[in-house]
Symmetry: C2
Subunit: 447 residues, 2 copies
């Protein structure tokens, strides 16, 4: 990166490189708004994703554009930020640089004065990576669209197949009953019972089985037992089968084995474990079991005060307990890291160590039933859902998104219809040249 | 298809098979609403697409869900229709059946009493199929998303490349200056000059060249010369370079040759010729040069009064001129075919031969400037755009879509921002298994 290409930034200013445009990375960039620094934010996608609503894309409630907005757009007015579409492949802590594979296939080495790693997490198959093929997980827009296609295709195939029940086309298994699994189960129950009602002639979508599996003895582990029970009861009222106390023994193309029982299912979705991105390997740092980098109370890596690791990529204890992998932690850490760098750059002394302020936990269990837990306050049902909806709308990064989501939710609520029930067979992208040869032109183009 | 699986329909009723869920097919199904028939509508996609606005998906104005809605949803209340997701591969006129490849990989033979072929058209490369790889066309949702990705990626690559202008990353060539080419050119001009403004730090999107090429001597052939001139002047005012009188001599990965001049461009989009779907081959019928089936005045194939061919798939002269390949013709023909079948089934005599009622032609040349030609009325500018917008909103098939499009247009108009600037790298779909191996998991999942 030559100085001449830095555009609006002053080449003499310290260079802050932020890897990742999620909640943590964007918060860090914004916190540096008035700092005399040059910022380069690198992400392998062009968009900031509002992950807490990703399950609504997977279940046809929202189109992806409603929960994702271009990182460039979010930061367009902040002249000290330059956004780069590319994938970081390594970090050289000694030389203070990161290597980036750019979207045009070339590679660039970017030096930094400060580095913020906010690369998030991927779902983990706990070493059983062969499960991924049969049980996709939900972390990106592409994931959500792939799952949406799978679910809708299962109904289409069921409509034209003899004995679809026996073939598992109308059985959906969700592996993992944390917030993602519970929200998916609730949204799918509404999809099959309300949205798809009377769309088919031979099958009855309402007869579809939705099975939520977890090896724990209750759903929604991070919540109180009372809320877990209420959410489970609500899900069961929507027709979801909740199976607890047994882990998945195997997954293949025909279904799963759980608690010794074989469940035939063509659509298995992985809503379990989360693992950190490879930042720990880049840094050759100490990590916890999930691959998250152990950091100090100022969010830097021990021995490297210029290297910050935040959000799902980092592991930090507070009051003896690890901080959860939620958006709030990432945002608060991003803001902290940005402010701390600002102070260091202008020569002021450091702030007090980072402390997470827990604003509470929420999850929707279908329809307008949510559970909300914030310190001693516990709400469920519509009373939980209203603050859930208000907070999610308020946090959606981009103002045009808020209106669109509100309109879509109102519409879905009033009519039961969902706006995003398209099955799109994608052309090969430039990176997927080979698939051109296996797809019949007519299928690829039209369906 | 066994009788037991026909659900709500009476097995003794005549069976009408409609192939294609576009404007023609859906209009035909709706016209048969009260007819004592069983209808099977077969399409290889699950959605009806509002093609006239497809260029707005390709240029990030609208998300695909705003112009496509599930065929099942449109026809859900019409109990005599069953929708099948599958691809017709052949027709046996003697045995009166069609062969369908279903989405689960199996094959089904469906017999009919009446057949309506409404399979639309694909863009044609006039025998130069090798152009497709470098110059994708615009007919399906997948096409539009692929083109959107290409355009946005070109800017991303330009931002991180030395000398992007020389590499053709900021040059966009549209081949064909009919309505699609003109609408694409206008929308792209607004995209680069308004939406992407100040999103980049190293490149200036407003410096991008948009070149519209046609071998004809004017743009918008179907319109009057006066309107062509006005539209061209408006496009040029937006910065579009219009090059007429020379066809494309070659297209490759680095650009095009036109009129002997080589134009370096990484993004070439095919907005030219249209060719019919393979229905002519299925029927072994007489076709015109573009592959469209010659039909009789009652829209049936000569010698086969039970086989109707409509819309872009058919070739029919009226007053000595072939009918144009537009939505209006398909819809009017679909309605006619449906009504005629209804009359024949209940034993009433045929209607007068089909006659197309031309409601006029419209095209947008960027922003709020449209040309409109309806018999002797010719409008241009905002005066042309207002009826254009009203008519398009009114025709959008599904009421939830209308509101969403209106909101999005207003937003775009007021702010210059567009809601659909996502680049999504898709996972391999079940049909594209092989691409799994060439895509790095981190790229595929996140970007």
């Amino acid at each position: 990166m030559t100085q001449a290409r830095q555009g609006l930034m002053y080449a003499k200013d310290p260079h802050v490189v932020i890897v990742g445009g999620g909640f943590g990375g964007v918060a860090a960039a914004k916190a540096l708004r008035d700092a005399p620094v040059r910022i380069t934010l690198i992400d392998r996608t062009n968009h900031h994703l509002f992950q807490p609503l990703l399950y609504q894309v997977a279940t046809s409630v929202l189109p992806p554009g409603d929960i994702a907005s271009p990182i460039r757009g979010i930061l367009r007015k902040q002249a000290n930020v330059s956004v780069t579409l590319g994938e970081v492949t390594s970090v050289d802590k000694a030389e203070r640089n990161v290597t980036v594979d750019l979207s045009d296939g070339t590679r660039e080495v970017v030096t930094y004065d400060y580095l913020i790693l906010a690369t998030g997490a991927r779902h983990s198959y706990f070493g059983k990576d062969e499960y991924e093929k049969h049980a996709p997980g939900l972390k990106s827009v592409a994931d959500a669209l792939a799952i949406r296609n799978r679910i809708l295709r299962a109904f289409e195939q069921a409509e034209t197949t003899e004995d679809p029940v026996k073939k598992g086309l109308l059985t959906f298994v969700l592996v993992g009953a944390g917030p993602t699994g519970v929200e998916m189960a609730g949204a799918m129950a509404t999809l099959v019972r309300r949205t798809l009602k009377s769309s088919f002639r031979r099958i009855n979508p309402q007869s579809a089985r939705i099975i939520l599996v977890d090896q724990a003895n209750r759903i929604l582990g991070p919540f109180s037992e009372a809320l877990s029970k209420k959410a489970q009861k609500h899900l069961e009222g929507l027709g979801v089968e909740v199976r607890l106390g047994h882990g998945i023994e195997s997954i293949d193309g025909d279904g799963v084995v759980v608690g010794g029982e074989r469940i035939i299912s063509k659509t298995v979705i992985w809503t379990a474990g989360v693992a950190a991105s490879p930042a720990g390997k880049w840094l050759n740092a100490e990590t916890d079991r999930a691959g998250r980098v152990h950091i100090q109370q100022d969010l830097t890596m021990a021995g490297y005060p210029e290297v910050f690791v935040i959000g799902d990529t980092a592991s930090l204890n507070q009051d003896g307990k690890p901080l959860p992998g939620v958006a709030q932690v990432a945002m608060q850490q991003g803001r902290y890291a940005g402010k701390l760098i600002h102070r260091r750059v202008i020569g002021r002394k450091d702030m007090a160590p980072f402390r997470y302020f827990d604003k509470g936990n929420m999850a929707v269990a279908g329809g307008n039933f949510a559970v909300l837990q914030c310190r001693k306050v516990q709400l469920s049902g519509l009373l939980g859902w209203l603050p859930w909806a208000a907070i999610h709308i308020a946090y959606l990064a981009h103002s045009s998104l808020r209106l669109a989501v509100l309109v879509q939710w109102l519409w879905t609520y009033l009519t039961g219809q969902r706006g995003s029930v398209l099955v799109v067979n994608h052309h090969a992208s430039p990176h997927q040249e080979c698939s051109r040869q296996v797809v019949h032109p007519l299928i690829a183009s039209g369906s």
